[in-house]
């Protein structure tokens, strides 16, 4: 085990990713856990918790129930609550102790569905992975369960937005701005999975002509939609005026040619010492936007799950504090969450870009909406 940190925090966990992805869909999400997952999620990882009701609960697992393997209580509690609250679906996931006792979530979901008649499924979490994994699998589960199978015609220039959760985009209007940008570029939005769409919208996801993947948590959903309906996908967040234009063109191309495109990682990387720390599509898009707007190259240092198609040649992975500190020591400028500052060189310019999945609500009010806006005018004047 090498994963330790002296001074930086840890990213939101898989259970939070599940809850966040499913939050607005009218279902009931139950985390099989004693206590911590719920309070952590609702305090630090879910900015919608106070104002928007959602059925996210924990099972309140106790020592005795864990030792006795008392799955019957869990099934009974979920069945009873569902019968009163009538959720549109029931999603079950779990924390470390539930994993240790070998909880068979799939069997439980089947039993719960038999009891309630409500579509039920599980997401295999254990609190030991990042929110991206949890959200990815939650989006996949929703698509598998609810997207219509019949031959739905794909509407020209229509888009699903995949990978939207407040963990990457906070609640600062970015998602609304993305939808607005799509509209002004002549696209219609079929669904935005995670934020701003209902389960009914998602059921029609097969009707989109192209999918826009705005974070890694939407990538596996995009692949699934490609496999099931042939829908191509494009990775990127329309940061900055120039990259927004590029991204719109890529969407049109992908839609027309039925090919997947990765503009967030199509970057010149030679000699780039400006480092951006964060989720790969978000940060890659920012790097590309900086390249187009400032004429400077930037590399992405990704501390989270990613894949090769999302990385440019000089990008790096920083899975722990030690590797992050080494890579950041080479940078001539750093764009990162403020809680990375203690491991950054003091003599290198540091540009604060808070990330909800990392610093939670600490700097929420500072998280910028960079959609289609000039970065020079709004966020980074002097990179």
């Amino acid at each position: 085990m090498k994963h330790s940190a002296r001074i930086i925090p840890i990213y939101a966990a898989d259970t939070s990713g599940v809850c966040s992805a499913l939050y607005e869909l009218g279902g009931m999400t139950v985390v099989h856990d004693a206590s911590g997952c719920n309070s952590t999620y609702t305090t630090h990882d879910e900015p919608r918790w106070y104002d928007i009701d959602s059925m996210v609960y924990i099972s309140a697992l106790t020592e005795t129930e864990a030792i006795m393997g008392d799955d019957a209580k869990l099934v009974s509690d979920i069945t009873e609550t569902a019968s009163k609250l009538s959720p549109k679906f029931i999603a079950l996931c779990g924390a470390p102790v539930a994993m240790m006792i070998g909880t068979d979530y799939q069997a439980l979901a089947i039993e719960i569905e038999e009891n309630t008649g409500i579509p039920s499924f599980c997401i295999q979490t254990n609190g030991m992975h990042s929110y991206l994994k949890g959200a990815s699998e939650a989006f996949e589960a929703i698509i598998n369960r609810f997207c219509k199978e019949d031959n739905m015609p794909q509407k020209k220039d229509s888009v699903n937005i995949l990978g939207a959760t407040p963990l990457d985009f906070s609640v600062n209007g970015s998602i609304k701005s993305i939808k607005q940008w799509l509209y002004t570029e002549g696209f219609s939005t079929v669904s935005c999975m995670g934020m701003g769409s209902s389960l009914e919208d998602i059921k029609n996801a097969a009707g989109a002509s192209v999918n826009l993947v705005i974070s890694y948590s939407g990538l596996s959903a995009a692949k699934l939609l490609k496999k099931r309906f042939g829908t191509p996908y494009v990775t990127g967040v329309p940061f900055g005026q120039k990259f927004a234009g590029v991204l719109a063109d890529k969407l049109r191309t992908a839609s027309k040619n039925k090919e997947n495109l990765f503009p967030s990682s199509e970057r010149f990387t030679n000699g780039s010492n400006l480092s951006i720390v964060g989720e790969s599509i978000y940060s890659g898009s920012l790097a590309r936007a900086i390249e187009l707007e400032y004429g400077k190259t930037a590399r992405v240092l990704c501390p989270l799950e990613t894949s090769t198609e999302l990385q440019a040649e000089s990008d790096g992975e920083i899975p722990d504090e030690e590797s992050a500190e080494k890579e950041l020591a080479l940078a001539s400028g750093i764009i990162a969450d403020p809680l990375y500052k203690p491991i950054c060189p003091n003599d290198v310019p540091f540009y604060r870009l808070p990330h909800e999945a990392f610093s939670g609500r600490c700097y929420r009010s500072e998280i910028p909406n960079m959609i289609k806006e000039s970065l020079k005018a709004t966020v980074f004047r002097d990179i």
């Binding site: 330790s4 939101a12 259970t15 924990i58 099972s59 309140a60 864990a66």
Partner: protein, 443 residues
């Protein structure tokens, strides 16, 4: 005529009248909701009370996240480190090595070694039968200048023996070592915040030339360790009792538990026990009682028939408080708590008879997610953050864990706070979002 509490069963409903409620746990637990009231302290806040201390949490990512960000919000990330656990750690029998090596790696990176490190293990360590003792022994060998505190974040065990909160307060004082006793030194043990300095508890002790030590006032680790010299430890919150007992057993410090109460009789008896223990003259409490009566009367004049709700985060004795207020003609409408401490039983029975319509309400019942919006807009005075949230009211007394109030002076101050709260609305959403009321916050 009173009925035996043993014959009453718990309910699955989110609320129940006290007349029909079981004691000490009125509700059957099931799935749980988490209300967004964050003022109560958690184990990180409590651990930070030890001056110059550093905390290292060893657990899964999901468990780490909340405690790490607690420190981040306190602007105290320089006092917090972590080691994460993954699936493989259970398969290769390396849990103990991982604790030792992870902690060693972190401490070796520090420019200066802290004098004390709280090492926190989690539920999975207990289930995997991790040998905590052997890991601490090895760490002590590697870092002989550091005191290591065996600490736990084990919510799975919250209904097995000591609660995690009580266990934390017990472990907090484990670095104290046996030293010669100073008969004129007294500790207040286990509290998050200083006890009201102008109250009878503090003034009567100080008047008899005793020095009072309290972790909340310690400015250095050395000052904290000096608490070991005190001859007597006073505790008054339920979660601090185990700490007092442990220190008596281990250091020979006499433990005097004088439970926080809102009963004149119980308060008087507590002060009498304190006087006997410290060989002080038992004071005449009639003036204290007169002042408390006057304060409550003034509060009632202002508050009148306004509905009052109380929650367990404000005070560990909400039933005792409800009885006091009911006896003084206040309109207590609802008490929010999942369970009550044993010392509440007598007042619980009294309320069953004299105020049977008071509702007991769960704070975690799944339906509570939606009940908030069903409450009609009306003025309600809440005592505690959860009561404020569930009643959607800006009129609330913002205290947790008794607020450092104790005895007659505590009642007087609480009455004043109730008046203030009923007159001046607060920004509820903002105030209850801060973690650890009274702690520094970056929000």
């Amino acid at each position: 005529m009173l009925k035996s509490l043993k014959t009453i069963n718990e309910t699955k409903a989110p609320e129940i009248s006290i007349a029909k409620a079981a004691f000490p746990e009125p509700f059957i637990t099931g799935l749980e909701y988490n209300a967004p009231a964050r003022g109560t302290w958690n184990i990180v806040h409590t651990g930070m009370l030890i001056p110059e201390s550093h905390q290292i949490f060893i657990c899964a990512q999901g468990c780490l996240r909340g405690v790490i960000l607690t420190a981040a919000e306190m602007n105290a990330m320089d006092r917090m480190s972590w080691v994460s656990i993954c699936e493989n750690d259970f398969l290769d029998a390396s849990l103990e090595d991982d604790i030792v090596n992870g902690t060693t790696e972190i401490l070796n990176k520090m420019e200066t070694l802290p004098p004390v490190v709280l090492v926190f293990l989690s539920c999975v360590h207990l289930f995997a039968c991790c040998d905590f003792a052997i890991t601490l022994k090895e760490l002590e060998k590697r870092f002989p200048t550091v005191d290591f505190i065996e600490s736990y974040m084990t919510p799975t065990m919250r209904k097995s023996g000591l609660t995690p909160d009580a266990l934390m307060r017990k472990q907090l004082y484990s670095p104290l070592k046996p030293v010669p006793k100073n008969s004129k030194s007294i500790n207040i043990i286990g509290n998050d915040r200083p006890t009201d300095q102008s109250g009878r508890l503090i003034t009567m002790i100080k008047k008899s030339s005793f020095v009072i030590k309290d972790i909340t006032n310690c400015k250095s680790y050395k000052a904290f360790l000096n608490m070991a010299e005190s001859a007597v430890n006073i505790t008054y919150l339920p979660t601090t009792y185990a700490a007092g007992e442990e220190l008596e057993r281990r250091l020979g410090q006499r433990h005097l538990h004088i439970p926080l109460s809102y009963s004149y009789h119980e308060i008087t008896e507590n002060f009498k026990r304190l006087s006997v223990e410290l060989d002080m003259k038992i004071p005449d409490f009639s003036e204290d009682i007169r002042k408390a009566e006057k304060a409550l009367e003034a509060a009632h004049t202002e508050i009148g028939n306004l509905p009052i709700t109380i929650d367990y985060t404000a005070t560990p004795r909400p039933i005792s408080l409800a009885r006091l207020l009911t006896e003084h003609s206040f309109r207590v409408e609802k008490i929010y708590s999942e369970a009550f401490v044993a010392t509440e039983e007598e007042d619980f029975i009294w309320l069953k008879e004299h105020a049977p319509n008071i509702l007991l309400a769960s704070t975690v019942h799944p339906e509570k997610r939606f009940l908030k919006k069903e409450i009609p807009e009306r003025k309600v005075l809440a005592i505690g953050q959860k009561a404020a949230y569930f009643n959607n009211t800006p009129y609330f007394v913002n205290i947790v864990s008794g607020g450092g109030l104790y005895g007659f002076s505590g009642i007087i101050r609480l009455a004043e706070m109730m008046i203030e709260a009923s007159l001046k609305p607060k920004k509820t959403k903002e105030l209850i979002s801060y973690k650890g009321l009274g702690c520094e916050s970056c929000l």
